[in-house]
């Protein structure tokens, strides 16, 4: 019996391809981001603050990259059959009409949803911002300027880290040398669309793509909050501080509400802007394939149910986190003037209001009514009620 030479299962692997991919990926991001940073026209500001018009906080930058990479990968998939045919027949095709590579940065898990990065088998997840910061430190491919906060200069992941464009170019054609004609057209059109989005719209568009993933993301926030919930129950039981776990729970709840409800507005606005501004037919097709309309994501009843769950958890989280603060800080229970006590005062009031709307009743509205004789000990009836609610909010795995 004759045996043929074995066929290597990964015969499409290429040497030297990744290096080019990474460099062009960063250049594609730099090009579009540079356009955003340099845009003078009007767009939705963040919290009414116009001062950071030419820079994005790291979370928003991450979502900017997520959206760009998502659309690019969808465009690559349209080109993929042609690319594969090219390799198998070894007849070089007209590359000018192809997207020649997928983005090498993948969606990897993060604490509050997925973000662009890489998996290192030895080190675990490495996020895009970590990679860019390392490149900046080594002065290689300095396409971005990353400025962590002064109190944490080595932590680019800190939410206060600012990212701005690190490049200056006058000739886009030259800057995009090496990209195919189609790739250049795509990048120019995407840059034109993206620059009109405000940070919150970028965040929403990068975060969401379809109902399936959004539901998964919301559920994940709620399920991940369970550990913090259990910690609070334990702490209440043994009379110890529950400040940290309540802050954790609040964080998860905020994200859950943002994803299940509040992002809808920004997402809808961003969706319209992109559809209005993008003219390239391939991008339009890719966009339609990869981004569902807002009513498809937030319309169904399951999302509604999750949103209600998330809001309930958020309202309660505000209340209990403020309570945790007051437990640790007797003085702030009556003083309203200090900034910190103002913050927690608002949180307390908001928590109460929102809990009332969610049907969570029976909690003291005055801080003084929670504690026994102004001590750190919580009134037994209040403690029991807190624990009952803690066991019921959120969702079980």
């Amino acid at each position: 019996m004759a045996f043929e030479e074995e066929a290597f299962l990964f015969s499409e692997l290429r040497m030297g391809r990744e290096g080019v991919q990474f460099e062009r990926s960063l250049r594609s991001l730099a090009f579009t981001f540079n356009s955003w940073c340099g845009y003078d026209g009007s767009r939705k500001p963040l919290y009414g603050d116009e001062s950071r018009k030419s820079a994005l906080e790291v979370i928003y930058f991450d979502k900017f990259a997520m959206f760009l990479f998502r659309i690019w990968n969808e465009l690559f998939r349209q080109s993929y059959p042609e690319a594969l045919k090219d390799i198998k027949t070894s007849v070089p095709k007209d590359e000018s009409k192809l997207i020649t590579f997928p983005q090498p940065f993948q969606e990897i898990p993060g604490k509050h949803g997925r973000g662009p990065g890489r998996f290192d088998a030895q080190r675990g997840p490495i996020y895009l911002i970590d990679i860019l910061f390392e490149l900046q430190r080594d002065n290689i491919l300095r396409y971005f300027d990353i400025t962590p906060p002064s109190d944490q200069p080595d932590n680019p992941r800190n939410y206060r880290t600012l990212v701005s464009s690190g490049i200056l170019f006058t000739d886009p054609q030259q800057f995009l040398e090496g990209f195919t004609d189609l790739e250049r057209d795509i990048l120019k059109d995407l840059a034109n669309g993206l620059k009109r989005l405000g940070p919150s719209q970028i965040r929403a568009l990068g975060t969401h793509e379809n109902i399936y993933k959004t539901i998964q993301d919301v559920k994940k926030e709620l399920i991940d909050s369970n550990e913090a919930r259990q910690e609070i129950i334990k702490s209440l039981d043994n009379g110890s501080s529950f400040y940290n776990p309540s802050r954790e729970m609040l964080e998860y709840a905020e994200e859950a509400v943002r994803k299940s409800k509040t992002n809808r507005v920004d997402y809808g606005e961003a969706f319209q802007i992109i559809r209005r501004e993008i003219t390239n037919a391939k991008i339009i097709e890719a966009f339609q394939k990869s981004q569902s309309p807002p009513d498809v994501i937030w319309g169904p009843s399951e999302m509604d149910y999750l949103a209600k769950n998330a809001e309930k958890l958020l309202s309660f989280s505000k209340y209990i986190h403020a309570l945790a603060h007051y437990r640790n800080n007797n003085a702030n229970r009556t003083t309203k003037s200090a900034k910190e006590s103002k913050i927690y005062g608002y949180m307390w009031e908001e928590g109460l209001d929102e809990m009332a709307r969610c049907g969570l009743a029976g909690f003291p509205s005055k801080v003084s009514d929670v504690f026994i004789n102004n001590s750190i000990d919580i009134q037994p009836a209040v403690q029991i009620h807190l624990m009952e609610v803690l066991k019921g909010v959120g969702i079980q795995q």
């Binding site: 290429r14 391809r17 030895q122």
Partner: protein, 518 residues
């Protein structure tokens, strides 16, 4: 070799140093890998004179079988003096006393499997500092462990054929070994599975249609062009198990329940039934059936792994029954079942034996097993004969071209690696550090779910499993998991075979993206 411009975005094909026999012999003065392995092992045997060889799973076993059964100058070593590292825990200390033990592994990078085995020996007092009763021989060692592993005052391994191998050289040798095994008849040569041979005297298509009487069957060709058939059985009444034979609370649904039929010679095929019921991981009541005890020996109850494999063998015997019944029920007589030779029976015409099973089942009574197979064949022939009058239409599932299957196999492997990496990252985020569990794979049900997302039929997914395992891209493990009913059970899981394959898959995903929908 296809050539591309180096400056092209497509890059240069990732050339394996070994592309063709011609290239290979031109660039190096090469002795075939089988010969090298044979020389290495023979030298260890002749110089060390072991009483027992322990083969480190999984390829160690397959290599030994290839060298003793398929090689031109068979290595002469009795199976009774070989035991798998997977079942060392089953054997009492007395089994190893006063024996010179040779531990053989084909390749070592991190040495994790070897260390686990040797540490178990140390813990059991079977290998103390200064003892000269144990020798470790590894054929090829990666530069990662070029200094060896310090254990018990020794630096292991004691002997090797290749050392300080770079990534690419390590990969080359790995591919050569796999190719050797495929030429010898695929990695199913490993000793976990029983096999029964069949000689076709007529149409192959009729043979496959017979298998399709009550099952789904798909034909594909391995990388070395051997014809293979994957036969998949559904979770239905016709394919149920005699539960009284298995431990209480064994799960029989959503398990590996199939048959591989692989070409040995032009017209001779091996029927390899594969079945691994999910058994509880604690010793709940396993019927103290004297027949089972005498078949496997008492030591089968010694630990979880032994129980798991014993349950697997019992399950495989049932699958064998279904295959033989379907063949017997077909209207074709164009095949002959060749039964294995019993240890005390020289009259069998099968021309092969199941002696290799003692590697994984060291106390297995081969005579009883062979008799059991014979009985199953007789019963299946009788039952099948009665079914001949019933007309059934073979279940047809066109599987497509081999090339398409291989492409799908790559996609499946990508997604498996992606999901496992995701889980590692999730754990890392939760715990703040990377924890590499071993084993750590996906369950069969999870892989079938992935396949369904691709829009593939079960039979296609099962065939892809076989392609990936045959080419040593996918490695099966045994893992304890918490089942949906809350019970902890031992099940089969699968993950890309080692860090080398995993890195290959990750690179592929980087270069070509994940499949759509993932």
């Amino acid at each position: 070799m296809r050539q591309f411009e180096p400056s092209s975005i497509w890059g240069v094909p990732a050339v394996l140093p070994y592309k063709s026999l011609e290239d290979y012999s031109r660039t190096r003065n090469v002795v075939p890998i089988a010969r090298q392995l044979h020389t290495f092992l023979l030298e260890q045997i002749e110089s060390w004179k072991p009483d027992l060889i322990i083969v480190v799973e999984r390829k160690g076993t397959a290599i030994l079988r290839a060298l003793t059964e398929s090689y031109d100058e068979p290595l002469k070593w009795p199976w009774s003096k070989v035991i798998s590292s997977a079942v060392v825990g089953q054997m009492p200390n007395e089994y190893f006393h006063n024996k010179r033990i040779l531990v053989f592994d084909d390749m070592m990078k991190t040495g994790i499997h070897l260390q686990e085995l040797l540490k178990s020996f140390i813990d059991r007092g079977l290998w103390k500092s200064g003892d000269e009763n144990l020798r470790v021989a590894v054929f090829a060692i990666h530069e990662y462990q070029s200094r060896g592993i310090p254990l018990n005052g020794y630096c292991v391994p004691h002997s090797w054929f290749y050392r300080d191998l770079t990534n690419s050289s390590f990969q080359v040798i790995r591919m050569e070994i796999i190719k050797m095994l495929q030429k010898a008849g695929s990695l199913m040569l490993d000793t976990e599975h029983l096999e029964v041979r069949v000689r076709l005297e007529g149409s192959f298509n009729k043979f496959v249609n017979a298998l399709r009487r009550k099952a789904k069957a798909a034909v594909f060709h391995s990388a070395t062009q051997r014809t293979n058939v994957t036969v998949l059985y559904a979770d239905d009444e016709a394919h149920d198990f005699p539960q009284h034979l298995f431990p209480d609370a064994t799960r029989f649904s959503s398990i590996v329940k199939k048959c591989r039929i692989t070409q040995r010679q032009d017209d001779e095929f091996a029927i390899i039934p594969i079945c691994f019921p999910a058994i509880p991981n604690s010793f709940v009541n396993w019927p103290n059936d004297p027949e089972l005890s005498s078949l496997f020996g008492e030591s089968v109850y010694a630990d979880d792994m032994s129980r798991y494999y014993a349950a697997g063998l019992l399950g495989a015997l049932e699958v064998l029954r279904w295959v033989l019944k379907d063949l017997a029920a077909s209207r074709t007589n164009e095949y002959t079942i060749l039964l294995p030779q019993s240890p005390d029976d020289a009259t069998s015409t099968g021309g092969y034996s199941l002696d290799h099973l003692t590697v994984m089942y060291p106390t297995l009574d081969l005579h009883k097993l062979t008799q059991r197979i014979l009985n199953i064949e007789l019963e299946a022939r009788s039952e099948g004969g009665r079914l001949r009058s019933k007309k059934t239409k073979p279940i047809q599932y066109p599987i497509g071209l081999d090339e398409d299957l291989r492409q799908d196999a790559v996609r499946l492997l990508q997604v498996i690696r992606h999901i496992l990496d995701d889980r590692i990252m999730e754990q890392c985020i939760k715990r703040g550090e990377i924890i590499r569990k071993h084993p750590f794979g996906l369950r069969p049900s999870e892989i079938f779910e992935i396949g369904k997302k691709f829009g593939w039929e079960d039979i296609r997914i099962s065939t892809l499993f076989d392609i990936l395992i045959d080419e040593a891209y996918l490695e099966p493990h045994v893992q304890t998991i918490k089942d949906r009913d809350g019970k902890h059970r031992m099940i089969r899981t699968f993950e890309p075979d080692g860090e080398m394959v995993s890195e290959l898959v990750r690179r592929y995903t980087t270069q070509w993206g994940l499949p759509y929908g993932f």
